[in-house]
Symmetry: C2
Subunit: 310 residues, 2 copies
């Protein structure tokens, strides 16, 4: 494949949800010709108005493109897009490059790599973190596994959508790194929620408490960004509980496969299962505070005054 | 009591360990006359050379001082210093102020406040976070409970030793806030350790992984400051496992007293108990990674190459 050049290289994009639409938009802005596909066709409309060509299968996408990037939902969706009869791999041809940015199992990334290789294609796993805001502002962290030569060649694309872009190793290494990211978030979220519950039960002023603890050894992104939303009773999704549960399941499965016990991650998965059981699967991950509050019979909706919970 | 003025107000200081010595030193530097006491007398030598007067009991300290600050080890040490026959409360007199900066139970802070009040004294609980470096650089976070009027009057002292200084509420509120700080650290440490173990077992380059995950939603003080030490096999104490275990015990006791279930904190306490059982009570809190590694038969001493652990 030749160098990646706007106006020459034809790019394919599969998955135009909140994240995918923002990311694909940056490539349009940069001048790339874009062929797009999404299962729900109404989600391609805005990108079509901006000049993307929408087609009706992954097969058509890869036939029209040199590089195809995908960001869909669950591992089953990734399998469908890559392996089904109208999928990318069966319709691929030598020299093309496939990049899966969905968060999905490292073992699936390895399988995609192998099956791509059999058809003369290079596949990368390149999951991202940074959420919808990171996608809109092109500030994502992109964690890439595969062959470094291919990673290097795609640099013109990475730099349009991400800010922290690191090649992590062989196929699956990008997905493994994303799992590390989710493991970190999971246990820390438990700490943030339990800390707020303790403070509330103790009758403290939660905002004053945050002043004392946010900038020292207890500080974290989640404490600074999500604790204020929990206090305000704002459970709108930055990142969905349902999606986080999927990721924690993948991480636990992979850890088990590697014969590794992760008790904190196991607890986090169970508590997020409770968040979902309580009907908050479509809330943001900060809804964990509700499940933990419920455990001690301490309803947590909004919290204008900490003392209301004592 | 009159205003706090260097050269006029006589200050007492009890507890000249690593933290206490640095903090008391700042008051000497500011020109305050200091009377000091420590159970192990050799730990007062350096401050004596800098002009502090060392005496042989808390009783003598309070007889010579208008304000006495204490920072000792365990709750039993606090009780000894405040309540024993040669302690601060029995030898106190109206108008004097006592400030306990030890991390100890909120209920003990309330008891000190009450017993001080009976002798006409005002007592504050003012635990700190920031460790020995924060103490040396006078950048501690000081979390204060008691009467706000007294907190305000001591401002000239606070600003000599701390940077983030917040009045948190009635007696015990300072200690409760410190518990919030420790609850946050405890669960996050589990996440940091499990994330490194996962990354190591997956064969990733741990330093590259940190590049991808440190600045986004998974980021935290512990990840940025302690994960590199874990990777380097540096378990020198910034904060001792034994002391952290004491704090987690206090937090769990207080939570139980408030009828509050904190499963993440409970898990953290058990895992730190294992760190201690494995002989690392005098290591820094980052030694948690060893206990978790041990769980999956994965020795963790130093880690020049992640691949050594696969």
């Amino acid at each position: 494949m030749d160098a990646i050049v706007p106006g020459e290289t034809r790019i394919g994009w599969i998955g135009t949800g909140v994240m995918g639409e923002a990311m694909a938009g940056h490539l349009l802005d940069a001048g790339y010709a874009l062929t797009i596909y999404n299962r729900s066709t109404e989600k391609t409309r805005r990108l079509q108005h901006r000049g993307a060509e929408a087609v009706s299968s992954p097969a058509e996408v890869i036939q029209r493109s040199s590089v195809v990037l995908t960001i869909v939902g669950y591992p089953a969706d990734v399998r469908e897009v890559y392996f089904s009869s109208a999928g990318l791999i069966p319709h691929g041809s030598p020299g093309k490059i496939l990049v899966d940015m969905t968060t999905s199992p490292p073992s699936l990334a390895e399988e995609i790599y192998q099956r791509g290789l059999e058809r003369g294609m290079d596949c990368l796993d390149a999951p991202v973190s940074g959420g919808d805001i990171g996608a809109r502002e092109a500030r994502l962290s992109i964690m890439v596994g595969g062959r470094q030569e291919i990673f290097d060649r795609l640099w013109p694309l990475w730099e349009r959508i991400g800010k922290t872009i690191v090649f992590q190793g062989p196929p699956g290494a990008g997905q493994h790194t994303k799992m590390v990211n989710q493991i970190l978030i999971a246990s820390n979220m438990i700490g943030v929620c339990e800390a707020l519950l303790y403070a509330s039960r103790a009758g403290l002023d939660l905002k004053m408490v945050l002043q004392s603890v946010s900038s020292g050894a207890a500080g974290s992104w989640s404490l600074s960004n999500l604790a204020p939303r929990m206090i305000a009773g704002d459970f709108a999704p930055g990142f969905l509980v349902d999606h986080f549960l999927k990721d924690l399941g993948i991480a636990l499965d992979e850890a088990a496969r590697m014969d590794l016990a992760l008790p904190g991650l196991g607890l986090a998965k169970q508590l997020y299962q409770a968040v979902r059981a309580q009907g908050h699967g479509r809330s943001g991950t900060q809804a964990l505070v509700r499940a933990l509050a419920h455990l001690s019979h301490c309803p947590w909706n909004s919290l204008p005054q900490s003392s209301s919970l004592i």
